[in-house]
Subunit: 248 residues, 4 copies
């Protein structure tokens, strides 16, 4: 991976067209806000931004074949992602592609397929203003926490609260505190097959959270952590004969 | 749970009708061999045996409504389980029902949906005779290992080998050694939603493994471990307003 | 374990003699407040309350030999527990005894020895009044959450905040929210050797937290979860010859 | 970490002086055999080899201050490492230094302190020749498995068998199969405080295992995985006042 990872930023891109506040905050889309940050980072070789309305929903084989890590943001159009494409993304992850799922992406088809659970949670967007969130690092030895302060404060955020219906994370990196009285497992890591999945909570279509440096730093760290690693010669499955040892 | 758990033993029941060796070993089916053992065990209130050819594939609401823990054995007819029924079993687990998945059930629809991974593995049924397997307890503090010897030896078994494409178990209880040179994570525990899943490797349609006392003891322990527990008042999800704390 | 578990409640018992507020809240000690609740619970065969000032610091072989699960509360006199006794408790846990560590017991010698880490955390006892704490269940499938509401509210509590320097819990059952802006992993489970350890945060010498029903219910559930289970014939370690299989 | 990690290879260095077979295999010690491989690897900035008989047992502050990751091999002289030095190594790990513990290092003082358990296991050195071992990758998405084949075969090895008395690994990368009928969790990862610990089983004073390429590759990957990462500004612990949020 000496030349760095190739990131594809997948963005639903619907709110940006419909909500004036979203358009104002992210004139060319949340995806590009994230992409612009990532493409300047050491260790990242290339960044490509795609959207749901792109040909093949931005999920063609050509694109996937040249993606090491995909970030995923979706919210109001999860259902428009075809089942075929959702299965394809799941399959790519199981074969090594990293996946960084952001905010409301917790209900996206690829994430739900990979988790096997409902992925629902509590939520509240209080009076359009949201509430204060503070993400605390609970695993300071984790590479995703590298260079991140011990907490990140987000002044206005939609609340996500427990119980978050996902499998116990293999590693839990952040826990969020919310002003309204809730907590949330905000940075969760899982290995799935040959691939890795990082869920990171922050972000919203009507808050400038993807302009906040520390949030972008975590997304970058997550992408690096999720970079593919490869067993030499691959992993064999299926009927294996003869055995490696003689069976008497 | 003072009066004990209600177990439903789900058995595919196809090999028993088609393979003479299977019929000979399990004249009334593998499911009933397991059921007969379980129904005599303290802490188990009732056992019901159902099969794929039963009405509603043995998965009617009536049955599921009165099931605390389901054991699942399938192999050659995974595809005949309808997607609706597979989704129903998954949903029941996420709402608290325990699931004990046996042997080739690793490729069953409900298990694959709950895992989110391919669930494939290496396998070998050597010359019809199989090979020796030894399951070692690696977590002797786990309730599923209670009363089980530090290893279980199975004289003739189909081999299952790594890589087993499942999420890292929340708790790994057994690792298998195989004569032919392979190892396997043979006893794996996961929490999923409000429910619990235990995968246990031993068993086969042409070996008398479900007549082996220690194997049955583990299935019993697994069923007890997977018994539903309930958060008082249930778990709320969705839009939660107003907040518990005042947001200034 | 049909006749139930034998619990020993170990209580430091120093604050009770020195702090008027502590004496007022717990006239015969925090330990006995916990013990009185536990001894009425189904599944608990017997409860014995011991203190640091007892003969052998309440940790004689006689006592340990007849203890299935020990609960531990200490704070200002951790150092007075002898290293020999701390090693003894650690050794008992590794051989199967359950340990439920409460509140400031996070800095006790037995807990620190079992964790291998510093076990330090952030803390704040705000103006003697404390602050509101809310413990959220994050693993509703866990037996320790059985019958517990989805959150427990404690009106006045000392704050404990992250980073809590313990190994990643094998299972995380509760996360605390604090009014002052902090979060904490409040209910943590670990297997250690043949034994189990549950750390539960609530409790304090100057707050009536051990009179709160839900807190006591969790301690009871923790004690039951930590009850010893036994591998049949025990676990062998050391030089094992000859091998089980012939080595050609 | 752009200029790479600084590795200190700590080697007991006693067998090399006393056992002719060990001297023959490793004329300048096992430590230097490992060090020579590591120093040529990209991403590793420097390698220093130290031994028990060095000044300060090779564990002076000067050395530790300039060590990112330490590898540790010991066997017959665990007790000669002073308690002060063992505590110092533990403390360094809790503050970020990576530790890669090799083979019989499982009973070393620093490892046992960090684990909190007995760390014992089954072992057998069969007729001086040992037996065949095969390490299977069970987590092919893990960076330590990067570039490693799906199994590593070691023709002559001392057997280590379960139950291995360590905490459940945060991530389990390898499981060993042994000819004599045993299995072992051979590649185990843990986070501890701000640091990371990797235990890797292979190696022995009388087998040429540290001349085997794949074994050295795993040690290199382990060192890279264990490299320190840093929370910006560090982690605060202790009494924290005033609170971040106003407490009404």
């Amino acid at each position: 991976m000496s030349t760095g990872i190739r990131v594809t930023v997948w963005n639903e891109g619907v709110h940006e067209k419909e909500l004036p506040r979203c358009k104002e905050l992210y004139p060319d889309g949340m995806g590009r806000a994230i992409g612009r940050y990532l493409e300047k980072q050491p260790g990242i070789a290339s960044v490509r931004c795609v959207e749901l309305d792109d040909p093949d929903q931005g999920l063609s084989d050509d694109i996937l074949d040249t993606t090491d890590v995909m970030t995923w943001w979706g919210h109001c159009a999860h259902d428009r992602v075809t089942d075929e494409n959702a299965a394809k993304v799941q399959d790519r992850v199981l074969n090594g592609m990293g996946l960084v799922v952001l905010h409301s992406g917790h209900m996206s088809k690829p994430f739900r397929r990979l988790m096997g659970t409902g992925c629902m949670l509590k939520w509240r967007e209080w009076r359009g203003v949201g509430e204060r969130e503070r993400l605390w690092v609970v695993d300071p030895a984790h590479p995703i926490a590298d260079g991140i302060p011990e907490y990140i404060e987000i002044p206005h955020a939609e609340m996500y609260g427990e119980h978050f219906d996902v499998p116990q994370p293999d590693q839990l990196v952040f826990i969020s505190w919310f002003q309204g009285g809730d907590v949330f497992r905000s940075g969760c890591c899982w290995h799935r097959g040959l691939g890795k999945v990082f869920y990171f909570r922050p972000g919203h279509e009507t808050f400038p959270i993807y302009h906040q440096e520390e949030v972008l730093e975590v997304i970058r760290n997550g992408a690096k952590w999720a970079a593919p690693t490869r067993v030499r010669g691959g992993v064999q499955r299926g009927n294996i004969e003869p055995p490696l040892e003689q069976i008497s």
